[in-house]
Amino acid sequence: MTETAQEQHVELEVGYASGKSIPRKEDGRLVQGQGVFADDVKRHGMGYVHFVRAPYAHARIVSVDVSAAEALDGVYGTLTPDEVAELTDPFFELTTPPGSQIKDYALAVGRVRHIGEPVVAVVAETRERARDAADLVEVEYEPLDVIVDARRAQDGGAPVLHEGAGTNVVWSGRFDWGDIDGALKAADRVVRIKELHFDRFSSTPLECSAALVEYDRGTGQFTLHCNHQMPGVAAIWMGPALRVPLDRLRFVTQDIGGAFGNKITTHTYLTACCLLARKLKRPIQWTEWRTDQHTANAHGNERWFHDIEVAVQNDGTMLGFKVAALDDCGAFPRYEPLGCIIWAQVTPGLYRWRNIRVDFTQVVTNKSPVAPNRGYSRMQQLWLTERICDIVAAELGLDPVEVRKRNYIRSEELPYETPNGCVYDSGDYARCLDIALELIDYDAARARQKEADGKLIGIGIGSTLDSGTNNFGQSTLLNPELQFSGNNEVATIKLDIFGEIVLTLGTVPQGQGHETTASQVAADILGVSPDQIHVRPGHDSYWNSHAGFSGTYASQFAVTGLEAVKGAAEKLSLEIRRLAGGVLGGADPDDVILEGGFAKRKDNPEAALPFMACGAIINANNAAIPPELRDITLNCRYVYVPPFELPDKERKFGNLTLTYATQIHACVVEIDPETGEVEIADYAAVDDCGTRINPQIVEGQVHGATVHAIGAALYETFAYDEYGQLLTSNFYDYHVPHALDLPRIKTGHIESPSPFSSLGTKGMGEGGGAAIHAICSAIQDALRTAGSPAVVNDSFNPPERVWRMLQAPEETAALVEVTTQ
């Protein structure tokens, strides 16, 4: 049940690599400092770019003077907002009018809208010299009023960030499923929660963004050595903006130092680098520093939940809820407003709630733009559903465990269609919860809670789903004009002249071990060991065959990536067996098996053709091949397309994702009532992502997702002052948990194979922010056990907030009201 990955190391039997924790192919280079990260790429004569950034959160640009900078020795040149406005078109916007009128350029044109926004780029012969020159650029600003609090963004007289749009609203709409009004009337009780706040943070990959951009004047081709995690979408943004065909943009990545969604929206910087490479006729090297990344790259979505009403029966059964959600996407939408629909993949969380109404609005503010951040948009919705469970349990004096079990969707009900048409594929939520509770020894913890020794002890639960493999048709529920639907991913595999098997992926890995898991799947199909399969590292859009949705995001590799690998490997297997069958006396492919690098006749294993011979025949010695085998290339490409349909735009109804991995976390916290400091005394994460190809890699993803969420719950926040100044702009003030801050994380799992993927796998890398929910739940539990009526109303709970809840419980208690009817 809970064996750790490392106990699962076993000798590999050829053909049975899947399901084994084999050490990763990637590690060899990475433990020796031989990885190639974007900032490691160099070229002769390259110039280093430094961006001059906005000192104000909101200001009109009165004038820009680069003459002193350009006059400095060693400076190669500059790029100004005027040049950008002339040489490029605004990046396209996904939303509907008037939000679609927002104009987003590579540099701030006319106005700056958040601290750190790039205004001018300077290129010089050294990093230091570029910075020297940047200090000489003179920009005159006329400060404007600032919007920091999303709740004020729609007030009359509030400054409007984007003149063209005439409003700060990016997108707004109602989602109404079932009959929430009826449910609220029929329910024994109605629990009302005035306001909850999901805080702003991000997973802050340790490697910041970087690029080495080259321009070939002969062919008009740009080559971007970078760490963008979704080059396909970057090209779609950049091509039209730069007015060049997409194939002129070659994206090359090898090792990426973590991305977590934060490297999906760097196209603005990459575009500036392209313009500079073309203008200055030399390679451009861009290094983003930590403070740059914090102030002006990508945060996670901040979200407010207002006027929540939950229909509850006396026994704790919940019939549904309604809520007004307000999402803050910062100064520019970029990947947004997709976050206005992505949450709907998990509308009711893990619960059987049939009546749900969400009035969703997204606004811009003078803060860093957001990008999809691990758990993207679902995490916020799942935090809401988990808060609802705990607040209802607390208010009705029920056991949070019982409330969850009573409302969880039952395993026998799966596959289960949610009120908005998503199909939860498989799982056993109650069982996962039991395992989690066993891991933290729930009963013992409850007992300890009673004999309080000065510390307040709380037990918390976080139940989440990681919805993987998007149906991009969901975008049409936001904007019916968008021409996106379904999903796809590509893999190609070939048998080379000397019998080497070479696999290339359409994905863009950032530490998830794709080279390893892909080789495990292909190896079993081809009857070889994973060591015998070379998976090309990284992604090069010129040599890795890819499709429209290729990339590594949205918890989908285990389905899209591996199904593509499986499809390609099966095609290659069939070709090898057809070829060998022909060569070995006309055997039917079905009578040929692949084993240990040979294609053998089942009826006579002595009759065997080595892969090397197959490769040689097709690649180098093919004149004698009979006509019926001439179509064989031993070079196979497979595009996996998941079985999706178009959602119903009117009802905002349909299956938005293919698989749903379960995460149930449980923890015990100890609160120091004098200081409000929260310590995690015990922590358990139980995961069910269906069939696990490499359990050790899966467990690693669970650890990572858990700690991102622990950081978000206790340490990490992007806090702004009233002027839009970011107060946590580096790792000194933005505290990322280190090894001493964290507990030993216990893990457990069950495997409920997905009926919707042929491998039974489910995407699971993002998790659902379960630790945020579990820690909020535990703090709530500790407060109530201590007799405090306080309500945990924020996802971020630093010591002072916890202390305040203890000091002035009425402040948060007033947010909740229960009526009996």
């Binding site: 230091e128 004098e674 400091e677 010591p799 002072e800």
Partner: protein
């Protein structure tokens, strides 16, 4: 990460260092560099001459004389943590040094740099203030010794004026005193939110509170927890608010932690 242009000098002796520091108005001594270099990365600090003290052996080392300690200004936190003299004479110095930042920083960061940067969140200002340490300052005109009260002039401002150099920290013998420490930090062993050091002798506590003002705030009280909390409450603290803690919260923590520091000392 990209510093302003600068000159670099690496003297072998204190005299040479003092000469260099006096010679140019914009000269700055570089000790462990675990603060200064980071500030120079932002270009907020941009000394034209950096005088690297790391090769001046005379500034390193710990000696004990009848329980009184003399610690060279360039002695690293790591050296203090490992010092048998410190363990014997004033172990609190090692206990606190062990919680500063991390291993790499403790390998470079020095006690002299720590107090000369006079950052309110640093550990040593309140600790040395509680212990009644004396600071030895050298200049071309000779040597002078100041108390911590005189030494800490403000945020980033100390009695080490242009052309001067802190050479040593003197800690009086412990006698019958007991030392204690308590702090609230950003993450475990992280940046101080409020730090309190206490020395208890003959039933009286001398308490130094860090992160609640520009310089350590000294409070004395009889060494019982309620008396201490009352004394801190009556000290009229006016702490700063920042993203990590409001003034109210810091004021509250000061009292709570002072009591704990005294408990730790008893």
């Amino acid at each position: 990460m990209l510093l302003r242009e600068l000159d670099y000098a690496r003297p072998d002796s204190v005299d040479e260092a003092v000469k260099l520091l006096a010679a140019r108005e914009d000269a700055r001594a570089l000790a462990g560099g675990q603060s200064l270099v980071n500030v120079m990365k932002t270009r907020v600090a941009a000394p034209e001459l950096v005088v690297d003290l790391n090769r001046i052996d005379a500034l390193r080392g710990i000696s004990s004389n009848g329980g009184a300690l003399e610690i060279g200004a360039m002695t690293t936190y790591a050296a203090i943590v490992d010092s048998p003299e410190v363990a014997a004479a004033r172990p609190i110095l090692a206990e606190v040094a062990r919680t500063i930042a991390d291993v790499q920083v403790r390998n470079r960061g020095t006690i002299g740099g720590n107090i000369c940067s006079s950052d309110p969140t640093n550990h040593f200002p309140p600790l040395l203030a509680a212990l009644g340490a004396e600071l030895v300052i050298r200049s071309a005109d000779g040597e002078r010794t100041v108390s911590t009260d005189e030494f800490f002039e403000g945020v980033f401002a100390t009695a080490v004026h242009p052309g001067e150099l802190l050479t040593a920290v003197r800690i009086p013998a412990k006698g019958d005193a007991r030392d204690g420490w308590a702090s609230a930090t950003l993450g475990r062993d992280g940046t101080g939110i409020v730090s309190v050091a206490a020395t208890v002798s003959a039933g009286n506590a001398r308490i130094a509170i860090g992160c609640v003002a520009a310089t350590p705030v000294i409070v004395t009280a009889s060494a019982d927890e309620t008396a201490v909390e009352d004394a801190v409450g009556a000290a009229g603290l006016d702490p700063p608010s920042d993203v990590h803690a409001s003034a109210d919260y810091r004021r509250h923590l000061a009292a709570v932690l002072a009591a704990r520091a005294v408990r730790d000392a008893s």
